[in-house]
């Protein structure tokens, strides 16, 4: 039943419900695909028995006529989500062997809806990276290759394992997390869809913290509809997260519509930046045409503080990270470095051995910008600029209903090709502003570049308006007709 792995979640749901195939057959197909794709390095742990157990429950429930929304659907789970009894390491050596005695709210919601787990997905260490190269497990290799080349490419990051798994057809859908583009950039690099909802839609409880004021979970899948199906289950109020929004979850899937009549599409002029390949700007123009075709009217908008978003992010995110990652001290869980005499030396030795270079770099930056004498100059200043960036969007949404931009300033690059930290940070130039403003944003595939690599289009919606994002995403999906798949080499 290998053809099952080519189906979307909506198709699997339909086929399972109608009895065309069983949940067990679905789970076995994906388990086999996962086992055969080790060269992608997409999974840190494989959990075939978990997927089978959920499938068995789904098949039984189908017999008795009770169907949960995700019954029969096996998913990949980013290693940032705490999963009861299953290694949860955030791609870091410092959490080696950590088996949470609890389950994150998001994965718990997915399980209650009947989903099984195929395994945990590789990622940049603590979600700090845009290429998956900072993972303690080594980088994920993208299923995509440049035309006529065998060079290993990055699937993007930090949700790189998630993106690779969906694009390789070894998981029908996955969870990702997005702090400054970590769902959208990898989705763009691998020709799949991914949405980061409004900050607070998905509970952060049980997700390993990176930058708490920015971290949001979201789904990645082959289609916009599949993202809507997953997001409806993942989102929802959770009293265990103080920033969780106490609002009902809209029926995003039912309300999907690619009719954009009377919708205004904002095109921010500040996103036309130097050094972006012409193909990306051409795709952006094509995206405008597609949305016009769907009934929308483009309007030029201005987001004047756009160029300050990345430097703002690279103060706030490391500051929050340095604070959040203080908990890794070798006492309560994870790695402990032995052979040192004092408690202070044990902390320092454990953190030296357990964290990788990028994580250390960000903790250092964060510690510095929060330290006495520098706090106001860096951190407070960044929080003020963040307020201005948020205000830019609020003003823009008086003139438009949705914003269209490219997702990333390049297609996927080769592993090892980008070694300068600043150059790496620039990957998220289009993704970060929406993160700083807490807005829902999505990447959908738009087409291939001349090298045969996927490029994504990026939709940013107003607060709580995931529906507008999904609808515009659907309109693009229907018109782009993106069906390209990587040639199987793994």
């Amino acid at each position: 039943m290998s053809e099952l792995t080519t189906k979307t979640i909506a198709e699997l749901r339909e086929g399972f419900r109608s009895g065309e195939f069983t949940a067990r057959e679905i789970a076995e197909s994906f388990n086999n695909a996962v086992a055969a794709a080790k060269s992608l390095n997409a999974f840190t742990v494989e959990t075939p028995d978990d997927a089978l157990a959920a499938a068995e429950a789904a098949d039984k429930a189908r017999g008795s006529g009770e169907l949960s929304p995700l019954a029969g659907i096996p998913l990949g789970i980013k290693d940032l989500f705490a999963t009861r009894g299953v290694d949860t390491t955030a791609g870091s050596n410092i959490l080696k062997g950590f088996r949470p005695p609890y389950e994150s709210t998001v994965t718990s919601n997915l399980r209650k809806a009947g989903a099984g787990m195929l395994g945990k997905l590789n990622m940049d260490e603590f979600a700090m990276g845009s290429s998956n190269e900072t993972s303690a497990y080594g980088p994920v290799i993208s299923p995509w290759r440049r035309k006529g080349s065998n060079v290993g490419l990055t699937p993007g990051g930090s949700s790189g394992g998630s993106a690779a798994a969906v694009s390789a057809g070894i998981a029908p859908g996955v969870t990702g997390t997005d702090t400054g583009g970590s769902i959208r950039q990898p989705a763009a690099f691998t020709g799949i869809s991914g949405i980061k909802p409004t900050y607070g839609r998905c509970s952060r409880w049980g997700i390993v913290s990176f930058a708490s004021s920015l971290d949001q979970a979201g789904p990645m899948a082959r289609t916009v509809r599949d993202c809507a199906i997953l997001l409806e289950v993942m989102a929802g109020f959770d009293p265990k997260d103080s920033t969780s929004l106490d609002l009902p979850v809209p029926p995003w899937e039912t309300n999907l519509s690619s009719n954009l009549n009377a919708k205004r599409i904002g095109i921010p002029k500040e996103y036309r930046i130097d050094g972006v390949p012409a193909e990306i700007n051409a795709l952006w123009d094509q995206g405008i045409e597609w949305l016009k075709d769907a009934g929308a009217t483009p309007v030029e908008i201005s987001l004047p503080h756009t160029r300050y978003a990345l430097p703002t992010y690279y103060i706030i995110a490391p500051a929050e990270a340095s604070s959040n990652l203080a908990r890794y001290d070798g006492v309560r869980y994870g790695l402990r470095e032995e052979g040192v005499k004092t408690l202070d030396d044990m902390y320092a030795a454990t953190r030296a051995a357990g964290f990788g270079a990028e994580v250390k770099r960000r903790i250092m930056i964060g510690t510095y910008v929060l330290s006495a004498g520098f706090y106001d100059a860096y951190f407070t200043k960044a929080q003020k600029v963040r307020a201005l960036i948020k205000q830019d969007f609020a003003r823009a949404f008086e003139q438009c209903d949705i914003i269209l931009t490219p997702t990333a300033p390049s297609a996927a690059f080769g592993i090892g090709e980008t070694t300068d930290p600043l150059a790496m940070y620039l990957n998220d130039v289009f993704a970060v502003p929406a993160s700083l403003a807490g807005l829902p944003a999505m990447s959908v595939p738009g087409g291939l570049d001349a090298q045969g690599l996927p490029l994504g289009l990026h939709l940013i919606g107003n607060e709580l308006d995931e529906q507008a994002v999904l609808n515009a995403g659907l309109a693009i999906e229907e018109r782009a007709g993106f069906t390209a798949k990587p040639d199987k080499w793994w």
Binding site: T243, I363, T367, Y378, A382
Partner: protein, 95 residues
């Protein structure tokens, strides 16, 4: 502003990350590069702007002041590198 080797050593101490002289030396230009870049925020006029504290406006909730969890000592200790007599164990602090 730029950081010196001594300052980077101090930041590493604050961050509780052991670093060799060589590592510190490598980090000095890296951190200065990043700090030099973020300093462009100085160009932005933020007079009278309140620092953002909540990205999506909402009221902080209070929960009822009741015990709703607990009695899971063994679960809490299960992941400890070292646990003794129902406690986390650490290197001796007092001689």
């Amino acid at each position: 502003m730029s950081v010196t080797h001594e300052q980077v050593r101090h930041i590493a101490k604050l961050a509780r990350i052991a670093m060799s002289e060589e590592e510190l030396g490598r980090l000095v230009p890296e951190l200065n590069n990043i700090l030099g870049w973020v300093e462009q925020l100085g160009e932005v006029n933020t007079d009278g702007v309140e620092p953002l504290t909540a990205v999506i406006e909402q009221k902080l909730r209070l929960r009822d002041d009741v015990v709703n969890d607990g009695n899971i000592r063994d679960e809490v200790l299960a992941n400890a590198p070292e646990a003794q007599h129902g406690f986390f164990a650490v290197p001796k602090v007092i001689e």
